[in-house]
């Protein structure tokens, strides 16, 4: 029971620390760590969820008020958590390695980008951009379009399995990217590499600033996605997906309709990405194909693998860790190094000012993803928060 005051204390201390040093990356990491501690601590459920809610609903926006960059980081984390949860259904539960997952994110993003900007005037006749409130409709449109794309892509490829499926989905992802880059002619759908801007933003309730608004919206979507994910997992649908992952032949023989369940996995996974794509395009105001590369697909995969395939808390933690690594640790290291350089610091007789200018630690996302994938596969393929089997009450 020592953990009760400990949990409250950790959150309070980290919040206080953030209030005192609003610009310190380390302190922000401490704050995130305290959330993880509370999540894992042995404390009454009600206290756990109150603490987490207080931290995410009150403390985080307060932090964001002092340092909007952190709010941006938190929103990015939210976006990637939803993507990781979506990919987790496809890879973790159903066992289908999808290397082109970001394509669904792109489909969602472009669906709002085209109609939420004057760009649609080029394709259709006049009347665009749509009014801001259409954004909410498009959250559903993005979901539907992405899910449909998932089914359309899934139909021809799902009889492949294992590594062939992986390569084909990679091919699809590349095709979508090349299309996004080149469909500025003969009809200009995507405006090619130049991208689409300005994309409308919805009117915000209570005059919230956009930073806070998108943070709360992302949080809301993440909560919805977690609930949907849990309910799917604990149903005959989730069990059918896992059965397919474990043994396709036996699953079919036990009455699992293979194609339908695989398509459903693709569609569900895609739909999360579609919704977040719509949010992403409104948040960014500008999108171009650069945001939807193979690198992003692998990044999301690394999040799922790091957390643990098939594990919801794993996907959340994995997405957080990887996003924070990329956005804060790498960049923070870059900035810190630059400061040291400018201060003329020497390490073991080597002047840091002599470091080559092309050496930019912030650019090594791929190395982060690569190291995560390889180390996890070799040393801990089940991830840091492995999926736990649900234990059922017996005798009922």
């Amino acid at each position: 029971m020592i953990q009760v005051p400990l949990s409250v204390g950790v959150v309070a201390v980290s919040a206080l620390a953030v209030a005192m040093f609003p610009r310190s990356v380390l302190v922000f990491l401490l704050f995130q760590g305290s959330l993880l501690f509370v999540y894992r601590a042995r404390i009454p459920e009600r206290l756990r969820w109150s603490l987490l809610a207080a931290a995410l609903l009150v403390l985080m926006p307060v932090i964001g008020y002092f340092n909007s960059y952190y709010l941006e980081v938190a929103t990015q984390v939210g976006i990637f958590v939803a993507l990781a949860l979506g990919l987790n259904i496809v890879v973790g539960l159903a066992g289908l390695l999808d290397l082109g997952y970001v394509a669904f994110f792109a489909v969602g993003a472009y669906s709002w980008a085209i109609f939420g900007s004057p760009h649609a005037n080029i394709i259709l006749r006049g009347g665009f951009p749509l009014a801001g409130w259409w954004f909410y409709v498009f959250l559903l449109v993005g979901l539907a379009v992405a899910a449909t794309t998932g089914i359309l892509l899934g139909l021809p490829v799902l009889r492949l399995h294992g590594d062939y499926l992986a390569i084909v989905t990679l091919g699809f992802g590349e095709v979508i990217r090349v299309l996004a880059n080149n469909l500025d002619k003969p009809i200009n759908f995507t405006n090619g590499p130049k991208g689409i801007t300005p994309i409308s933003r919805p009117p915000t309730p209570f005059g919230l600033p956009y930073g806070e608004y998108f943070y709360f919206l992302a949080l809301l979507i993440v909560v919805a996605v977690v609930i949907v994910n849990r309910r799917l997992e604990d149903s005959h649908i989730g069990r059918a997906w896992e059965a397919i992952r474990e043994d396709e032949v036996a699953a079919r023989a036990m009455g699992v309709p293979l194609v339908r369940m695989k398509l459903m996995a693709f569609a569900c996974g895609a739909s999360f990405a579609g919704v977040m794509g719509v949010l992403f395009s409104a948040k960014q105001v500008f999108i171009n194909p650069e945001s939807f590369t193979f690198l992003e697909s692998i990044g999301v995969l690394a999040m799922v693998i790091l957390g643990g395939m098939g594990s919801i808390p794993g996907a959340v933690v994995g997405a957080t860790v990887v996003t924070v690594l990329n956005l804060q640790v790498l960049k923070g290291f870059s900035l810190w190094l630059n400061e040291l350089k400018n201060a003329g610091v020497t390490v073991l007789g080597y002047s840091l000012a002599d470091l080559p200018t092309q050496f930019e630690p912030a650019k090594y996302e791929r190395m982060v993803f690569g190291v995560i994938l390889v180390l996890m596969m070799i040393f801990r393929p089940q991830g840091i928060f492995p999926a736990r089997r649900r234990q059922r009450e017996l005798g009922g």
């Binding site: 799917l232 069990r239 036990m254 089997r389 059922r392 017996l394």
Partner: protein, 262 residues
């Protein structure tokens, strides 16, 4: 009309004819299919359950043609099976394995699942109770929450049987259910099967190498050799059939009783 009837089933793999015009019928009770390794027994099961497409012939269940149906459709019609080399969902618990087997009996939509509707909750608790009952029937109730991979061999066999019963089949296909069991364990299993036939009116087709089991439990026995049916009849008739003796032991020797593992 027989419950289950196969006519002139033929299957070729490349140049090899695995099954040649095999007829098979079952009204009720337990029928065994025996024959040396490679005789085509498992291939026949794979055709019956839709895993392989037959090159020729017909298979009907309650008058409905099965060839061309998908495995899950055939399961939904009321035929389920086990596998020779146990194919459980290794990383799922025993009860989850059984629950997967009930998939074809669940009429819930996506919306029921997402909204946790009353129908959903009722169905889930009903399914769980049924799954426990099935595990109880095969003597695995205490292990319901154990991960399948961690169960000992004999328990895995019995779990596979419980899973095969989950879709409420009218016809059960068991591929060497006693393989690797002691004579005592095999006897217990056979009493269980007899009980299923008596209680639930199940019909069972058995592929078996343990001749004592076959002779004790079967109502009828079919003998395959090199993809062809060479004999059929009551256990006694088959035991005395000259072609069967030849197939098992070459040209001389006693009955198949001596050939526990052909």
């Amino acid at each position: 009309m027989a419950l289950f009837e196969a006519r002139r089933v033929t299957k070729r793999f490349g140049g090899l004819t695995a099954l040649h015009r095999v007829d098979f019928a079952l009204e009720q009770g337990i029928a065994s299919i025996i024959g040396p390794n490679g005789a085509g027994k498992t291939t026949l099961f794979n055709i019956f359950t839709g895993l392989y497409a037959a090159d020729d012939g017909s298979v009907t269940f309650r008058g409905q043609p099965l060839l061309g149906l998908r495995p899950d459709q055939i399961t939904a019609l009321g035929i389920c099976r086990t596998f020779q080399n146990i194919r459980l969902f290794s990383n799922m618990t025993a009860i989850e394995n059984v629950l997967v087997g009930m998939n074809s009996r669940i009429a819930l939509g996506l919306w029921d699942v997402l909204s946790h509707s009353r129908r959903f909750r009722r169905t889930e608790s009903h399914l769980a109770a049924r799954a426990i009952a099935l595990l109880d029937r095969v003597g695995l109730q205490a292990n319901a929450n154990a991960v399948a991979r961690s169960l000992p061999y004999g328990d895995r066999r019995r779990l596979e049987l419980a899973r095969a019963l989950a879709p409420e089949p009218a016809l059960l296909l068991l591929d060497e259910p006693t393989a690797g069991m002691t004579q005592g364990e095999a006897g217990t299993l056979m009493r269980l099967l007899r009980g299923l036939v008596a209680d639930l009116g199940l019909a069972i087709i058995l592929i078996e190498h343990n001749m004592r089991v076959v002779m004790e439990v079967s109502d009828r026995v079919t003998v395959l050799d090199h993809g062809e049916k060479i004999a059929e009849g009551s256990p006694r008739e088959v035991q005395e059939n000259v072609r069967v003796i030849e197939a098992y032991l070459g040209t001389r020797g006693a009955g198949p009783r001596g050939a526990r593992r052909a």
